[in-house]
């Protein structure tokens, strides 16, 4: 196979030997140092193959042996090259295509992300580019282990990640791990105190000695469950007290909304900028710059996909929606809506799993500012842990 390829690259001819003593010709040719192969005897006479450089030199041996040589077929690159003399463009094109194909096959053109749930593929690709994996990079420069380690460090929520190359595609496979819950330090002795003033509605004491009972009114900072246990003989031990104390509390939420406001509104004017990312290079398709006026930017990418395979050709479309500041005057109703919305957010943030049972609203407009005051009766967990600080005697 190797020999056949070498012969093809150098070129060879198959020729016929006509005459009375082909054996003498073969012997003479061999003695003169020429290499003949595939020597056959057919009905038309003998035939053999020889490299195209040696063929002309065979004439002297043929003359001596009294035979005539005739070329039957030419094989190999020199003859292909000669045939393409008038069509060099085609030949250069073929050679160029082969060279480009070889060069392109040495780079990473596509990056696939699989297994992501909360993280977006775009986010991971951006991080991968910072970690040393980007479109258009040479494949031999890719260090999968380094990229894996850096990705793990960048995204702690990733359980495991693997980077593999498959042809010109780098595949990032990952699995997002389960967030580790906060571990409560139960060894630390704590008391449970009241976080708010209120009246206790229900008590669930898990550890510790209850110091209050349902129906009691408590003030902020009052001891609810003690972490100090006293034994029968008066000795004390300290534990980590824990409890869920639901109490009725009162909270006041206040929100102020100015009636005169400046708001950004889109004018309806849009500037669209397109660019083509091909093999890692960015090719601008429009020559508009970013607008000088305020705008909102949206970016849309459309990768070229054929048979489910994402190719390294992506069309990016940036849209700049032009905005202008507009002075608006809110009605009292609109201001109230805004204030209510903000108060609800605040309630969710403060009460957590608690709820508002009743609310008393007071509203007023002072100097162009709408003020909403909401006095709420809430049901919430008022238990808050406080560490018991122990003094230890040090012996020198």
């Amino acid at each position: 196979m190797i020999l056949r390829n070498i012969r093809w690259w150098l070129g060879y001819v198959r020729f016929g030997i006509a005459g009375h003593s082909p054996e003498r010709f073969l012997t003479l040719a061999a003695r003169e140092g020429y290499v003949l192969w595939d020597i056959d005897k057919t009905d038309q006479g003998h035939q053999a193959k020889v490299s195209c450089r040696q063929y002309r030199k065979l004439w002297s041996a043929a003359k001596k042996a009294g035979v005539r040589l005739r070329v039957q077929k030419r094989h190999g690159l020199p003859f292909v090259w000669r045939a393409c003399r008038g069509q060099r463009g085609l030949l250069y094109g073929t050679v160029g295509a082969v060279v480009i194909l070889i060069l392109l096959s040495t780079r990473v053109w596509c990056i696939d992300v699989e297994g992501n749930e909360t993280l977006s593929a775009y986010e991971i690709k951006q991080a991968a580019a910072e970690c040393g994996l980007y479109t258009g990079m040479p494949k031999n420069e890719l260090e999968p282990r380094v990229v894996q380690q850096r990705l793990m460090a960048k995204f702690p929520q990733i359980g495991w990640v693997a980077v593999n190359t498959w042809g010109n595609t780098a595949k990032i496979r990952l699995e997002e791990g389960i967030a580790i819950p906060e571990v409560e330090d139960t060894a630390k002795p704590v008391n449970v105190l009241s976080a708010m003033n209120g009246q206790i509605l229900s008590m669930d004491v898990y550890h510790g000695v209850s110091e209050v009972k349902v129906g009691d009114a408590v003030v902020q900072g009052q001891l609810l469950v003690s972490g100090v246990l006293t034994g029968a003989e008066g000795q004390e031990s300290f534990i980590h007290a824990s409890a869920k104390i639901i109490a009725q509390t009162r909270r006041v939420f206040v929100m102020e909304v100015p009636l005169e406001q400046m708001e950004k509104r889109t004018t309806g004017q849009q500037v669209t900028r397109r660019s083509l990312h091909i093999f890692g290079a960015s090719l601008p398709l429009s020559f508009q710059g970013e607008p000088d006026v305020p705008y909102t930017r949206t970016l849309q990418s459309k990768p070229l996909v054929i048979h489910g395979v994402e190719l390294p050709v992506t069309l990016y479309e940036e849209t700049f929606a032009i905005e202008e500041p507009v002075a608006i005057t809110l009605t009292q109703e609109q201001a109230r809506e805004k204030a209510l919305e903000e108060i609800r957010k605040k309630q969710t943030e403060v009460l957590k799993d608690g709820k508002v049972t009743s609310a008393l609203e007071r509203e007023q407009v002072v100097d162009g500012v709408y003020r909403l005051e909401m006095e709420c009766v809430c049901e919430e967990n008022i238990a808050v842990e406080q560490e018991i600080l122990l003094e230890t005697d040090s012996v020198l």
């Binding site: 082909p22 054996e23 012997t27 290499v35 003949l36 595939d38 020597i39």
Partner: protein
């Protein structure tokens, strides 16, 4: 030693072939290592490599006769052909049914 010297047709000198053969035999070496003798290698009966051949005397599909030193070796068979021919070696392929040494 001088008496054993022979002059070849091309002017080269062969130094006592018989003596070299004997020496090779005594040293338990193959004669082809020291002496200028023909070496043949058979791959079953479908391929024969002949080293030290002096030329082709007859070439048909049934018979190939080659000069091997002082002898003529005749390969008989079916579909015989020469796969490769060099200055002092050749490869015969085909279905060899007989080999004769004609002295």
């Amino acid at each position: 030693m001088g008496r054993r010297q022979k002059k070849q047709s091309d002017g080269g000198i062969v130094w006592g072939v018989g003596r070299l053969e004997k020496a090779a035999r005594k040293l338990e070496l193959p004669p082809a290592v020291l002496a200028n003798v023909t070496h043949m290698e058979f791959s079953g009966n479908t391929q024969v490599t002949v080293e030290g051949c002096g030329g082709i005397l007859e070439y048909t599909g049934e018979v190939i006769r080659v000069k091997t030193g002082k002898m003529v070796t005749k390969f008989s068979g079916r579909n015989l052909h020469i796969r490769c021919l060099r200055e002092d070696s050749l490869i015969v392929e085909g279905f060899v049914t007989a080999v004769e040494f004609l002295i």
